[in-house]
Symmetry: C2
Subunit: 357 residues, 2 copies
DNA sequence: GGGCCGGATGTGACCGGTAACATAGCCCTA
DNA sequence: TAGGGCTATGTTACCGGTCACATCCGGCCC
């Protein structure tokens, strides 16, 4: 099996092309193309010859050449916040599954916290690769006034995930965070809690603000007046932040009987801090989280939390793109909200009227 | 801005090509190419004209055409088990970061549990896309005798992650699971435990078998004879499996004083089951996990566990590919083992000699 | 038996870049 | 002042497929 690459040129294992196969099977390259694409109108006998030649030459068709010629890449791009965050990993998994079901490949760009203009770079690279759709799951997106994103939207179907940027032409997919925050808080109020604190995520995340809005809505609905000292924002969504926030709350609002934490990790951190102060959960302080990460159910106590269906978010995003691609372009983007249901477990206690502090 | 696409052909928003830009800037397309690629030897004035034309036409170079012509795709492929598994998501994140640092894009194929011949499909698709390197992180890979994988290895730099398939020419990256299992078990033995049970992952995972080997090694080293009733395999790595396994163990081996669970979730499930039986951790039974997932540290008790540096695994895999690609091809693949260190927290109690049951 | 039809196959252009080489000025030196 | 060498730019082929259309051939109809 000597390389017939011609003199000089050494090229690693010069792959066979459609024409090499054609020559070997003594047909035209077009006939090979027909066989590859399973078109009718090829004699069984010819087909056999071609198939054999393909096998003998270990021919693998080039998706690159095919894309150039057919103007289709069958590729979706997804730009996300760091995939090592469980939350986004789920969304990627969902999008990937749905994309593949529809015959698309997913290329991802995962943005590390702290790096500069990465979303711009990724957007540009994906446009260059001629992705046929774009999923942007970067909550803190700073691209609002950016031409680049608008440009992308103008060229290809684009879905913004968990973003509050309002870009005509783009679809939006998000969790109904406001409602989720409302449900969590209303549930605490229904258990007779009146001093309900909240530990929020970073307030430059739209989801954090929406959950906070939901929290406030619920307090108002329950006739509880808002108290600024009961709201404790964090710089990130992690355990340590939750721990520290709980400690600050215990200083500033010692009368609290319940905490709505905007993530499960914040909640778990808060619980750890409460325990550190000798308080019991839920007997002394009730806690509700947000996310429903896998361990929430085995935690002690099992965490009552709001479940985010991130996988479905990813799936929906990919599906919307698929629909856009196949059907005539709708003019305006829609905003799709997925409900985040409250999962009641054991971290909330009912306060009987007399027991209010 | 009327489309100059020619009569008939409507084509959505026909993108400008290098030749369109050339025409507008009154230069040859080659000069445009030079400008795009930042080559010297273009007059500042010419460059300006070209840059302006690019902007006016909203020209975005086509990576597809470039790839076809230059025979480089700057793309790495990664086939993994479902990325919604935190473990693999970390590896993907690491690989992605490292790849991009080296100018590569990552396309991923995430294999859902239960689907049929997906790894074959993905491999084929990635080969078609002419990825310049391949990371295969599918522990349960059934491709041992498969021509397809061997084919891939022959064509492009390939790294197998956490696989025990021995494929000459491929690099291997893995956690040193045997040593990790040894450390966990040895630590328990050093705390005077003698009846040390283990809850394993599915034994068709090489990592599960290696950890089990490490467990046995450690028992032997400590002069403890093996007891089959102390080994409890599970069908998956999840919480429920851990819970059920612990319950079975309590039946079959009531004298156990310690459990080495092969994943943190298994460990947490086991702890939940133990508590359900009224036993305390670590006072009655000590538990060690494996993984060090984010919540392990706040669990009650904080979980002593073996930390898996999955992110680094991904990074290393991408780096190896980068090295292979740039340096002359080494003949044989190497096996790289990353150490998984024991993280001591609070879920193990020291048994004093008299207290042995 | 000529013409038409339709299936099987071949031909040449084209997709949008890059590479190699050609060419045209220009400056410098002998 | 001719020739060498360098810079700026243009020309043409090529990467490996797909597409549109041409061609060939056997069967069928009148």
């Amino acid at each position: 099996m000597l390389g017939e690459t011609g003199p000089g040129r050494v090229r690693h294992v010069k792959g066979a092309t459609i024409r090499d196969v054609a020559r070997r099977a003594r047909v035209s390259h077009q006939t090979v193309s027909r066989v590859i694409n399973g078109r009718e109108s090829v004699t069984a006998e010819t087909r056999d010859r071609v198939v054999r030649a393909i096998r003998e030459l270990e021919y693998v068709p080039s998706a690159v050449a095919r894309s150039l010629s057919s103007q289709r890449t069958h590729t979706l791009g997804m730009v996300t916040t760091d995939v090592s965050d469980h939350f986004f990993a789920e969304a990627v998994a969902g999008a990937e599954a749905e994309a593949r079901k529809r015959g698309y490949f997913l290329i991802i760009g995962s943005i590390e916290e702290g790096s500069e203009d990465d979303e711009r770079t990724y957007l540009r690279l994906m446009l260059e690769r001629r992705v046929e759709g774009l999923i942007v799951a970067v909550p803190r997106l700073r691209l609002a006034e950016d031409d680049l994103l608008a440009d992308a939207v103008a060229r290809i179907p684009t879905v913004l995930v968990a973003s509050d940027i309002d870009l005509a032409g783009a679809d939006h997919v998000d969790i109904d965070n406001r409602r989720g925050g409302h449900e969590a808080t209303a549930y605490l109020a229904a258990q007779n809690h009146r001093f309900i604190a909240t530990i929020t995520g970073p307030l430059d995340w739209p989801s954090a603000r929406a959950r906070l809005d939901g929290y406030r809505d619920a307090l108002r609905d329950a006739g509880i007046s808002a108290d600024r000292s009961l709201v404790e924002p964090c710089v990130d969504w992690g355990l340590d932040s939750g721990r520290r926030a709980a400690e600050r709350l215990l200083e500033s609002a010692p009368r609290l009987t319940a905490i709505f934490a905007q993530s499960d990790l914040l909640a778990l951190g808060a619980i750890a801090a409460l325990r550190g102060r000798g308080m019991r959960v839920p007997e002394d302080v009730s806690v509700v989280g947000f996310d429903d990460i896998p361990v929430s159910s085995v935690f002690d106590p099992p965490l009552t939390t709001v479940r985010q269906p991130m996988r479905e978010v990813g799936e929906l995003a990919a599906r919307l793109i698929g629909d856009r691609a196949s059907s005539p372009r709708k003019t305006k983007g829609a905003r799709h909200m997925l409900r985040a249901p409250l999962v009641i477990r054991g971290s909330v206690a009912r306060l009987d009227g007399s027991a209010r502090r």
